[in-house]
Subunit: 405 residues, 2 copies
Amino acid sequence: MALIVQKFGGTSVGSIERIEAVADLVVKTKQQGHQVVVVLSAMSGETNRLINLAKQIDTRPSSRELDVLISTGEQVSVALLAMAIIKRGHSAVSLLADQVNILTDNMFGKARITDVAATRLKHELEHNRIAIIAGFQGRDIEGNVTTLGRGGTDTSAVEIAGAIKADECQIYTDVNGVYTTDPRVEPNARRMSQVTFAEMLELASLGAKVLHIRSVEAAGKHNVPLRVLSSFYPDAGTLISFEESDMPGNVVSGIAFNRDECLINVEGVLSGTQYLAKILKLFADNGIEIDMINQVNHNVDKVDYAFTVHTNDYLHALDVLTEQQAQLTAQNIFGLTTVAKVSAVGMGMKSHSGVASLFFDALAAENINVILVSTSEIKISVLIDEKYLELAVRALHKIFLTENE
Amino acid sequence: MALIVQKFGGTSVGSIERIEAVADLVVKTKQQGHQVVVVLSAMSGETNRLINLAKQIDTRPSSRELDVLISTGEQVSVALLAMAIIKRGHSAVSLLADQVNILTDNMFGKARITDVAATRLKHELEHNRIAIIAGFQGRDIEGNVTTLGRGGTDTSAVEIAGAIKADECQIYTDVNGVYTTDPRVEPNARRMSQVTFAEMLELASLGAKVLHIRSVEAAGKHNVPLRVLSSFYPDAGTLISFEESDMPGNVVSGIAFNRDECLINVEGVLSGTQYLAKILKLFADNGIEIDMINQVNHNVDKVDYAFTVHTNDYLHALDVLTEQQAQLTAQNIFGLTTVAKVSAVGMGMKSHSGVASLFFDALAAENINVILVSTSEIKISVLIDEKYLELAVRALHKIFLTENE
């Protein structure tokens, strides 16, 4: 008997029929002798419907009240699933954030979970009930409703799994696992049966949409094995664990990409770390996260910097820099939106040299220019012209991930 | 400066436009120098939409989970109204049942409020904020979500008004006051400027839809003056107080009616109070409230009983009785749904004889048969065939409430 947390996303509970199917799946797990805790998102479309109501009142509605509003979406889906499980003759109980004591900070709309007491949850499990918990929501120390931001239900599931020391946290979604790259771009993409947390963190942060990065971080922190699987066609899916991949043949585990980054160039800045520090402080003060950084020294006096930021922050970042152009001693500030990032990720890169060489050879063979490069122990990322993105993904997948024939 | 509780029902917040109008009305009261607490229902149609979702899963869904589900309706409306007031430059905060500590028993779907601590509410008022509270909902001692049943938002408003010792509790609705009967049935119905709690209690319990009976009881208990008025065309409305009506000319104040009752017959029961006691205990144990009771002794051995119950409890009540038919010694158990109750209510009936005679004469003149009768000091109620309901209301209104010409 294991203690299993099962998380279902919006499309998995997107209709009454889907909720009935999830109820079957949960009951099946229970009948296998496991203790089951379910964490749910709102029915797909519901959160957007609620946000649209708010926008009709105020284009920038109170963030506290927006959280009160949109947290109702999960409350609806947990009640409906509990009813469906009870109809099947099993004991079930829906629980809201305050009932599970999911404590967060008070950053409405993007709160972070600080503690999960789970006293009542443990009590319900002791009484052999299936607990159905509203994901995505929390309460701050004053009892105000908070939400964790899009993708937050994954984080809820993992934090709850950590609090009750679950044996596995299963993330049911509309895809059946983590792929070597996006199958819409590369039809030969293969599903991985296993991937490490380190790899998954890189894949998630690099734009693989399957798992929210915070949930992967949290799973790593709590040492909870994660499994990604399809609620439509459930099978073994992809296991994310601390163990090395079971595909030792591949140095690279996956090719990730991201269209949501823009390039910002700050050219002709006086040499000296203090100017780079000023730029970075400007970004930090304005809540702008930067991803890639590059520095080119033309001569002893002048330096060119290049950064990538999220598309949503692009205009803001340009404004902020341009306002301070004189203080930054920059001769020229300009950006480029038609860029994309492609990355190869793999634990095997730690011990295999020559990966970078293969990587750049593959791009060169397709005449793809590289604008920026960034590397870590287990990944290589490049920024390229957006129009070559699919070509680059396919070329890299072919070199690193095509099965031996 | 007064402390005013304003309650708005479903149609008053039935659309974004209506919520904006309510925001204007609340802000106007605040600008007059009053402290304002607002209590809201769900947007009209929302509760039914949610119940319909539940019924798609289970025709008799778990009552605990149904409460979790439908309580989201009020959460949505309080968040939206708070946004609308904040947009107008006033400080506002939405509060849910657990944040106001609205404690109830655990009779899901028809819970009763046992305590309102209102600690945080008082704190928000001290900080000059407009508090927008989700009506209709509460929490039991274990923290489970409960709802008070249809019309429960009135009760929430009154209980909250009592807890904070409000000067007046204003019930804004889609009618502009309490009428001598439903104007849709009798176009000559007149609005009362004032009515006593005793009369209102009878009118509410007999089916006048303006105010929920529990809210009138609670207002009487807490000594909170109630005012019923229109959120569409606000004026003085109808004041409900401890003082006698200002219409002394009428022995009868109003004609109430109720289509939501069904008849249940339990026939051929052995004589002896113990069997009636058993039947009543069955109803009580199953949370079924009965309204009218009638007993007919055919001979020394056998008794027929007739009861009326709410339409929602009808099938449940029949099931419960039929299961125990042998123990109850009943020869025959059957029901009838095509019935309705009509009542005449008035403080003047205490001191005027001959009212009952006029009442039955009026029905007899229209050939309306009476199935059951029930009376109190200030009312006469009869159960009749549903198809004669409108005719009966008009006949009684004409005799007792037509203005002298």
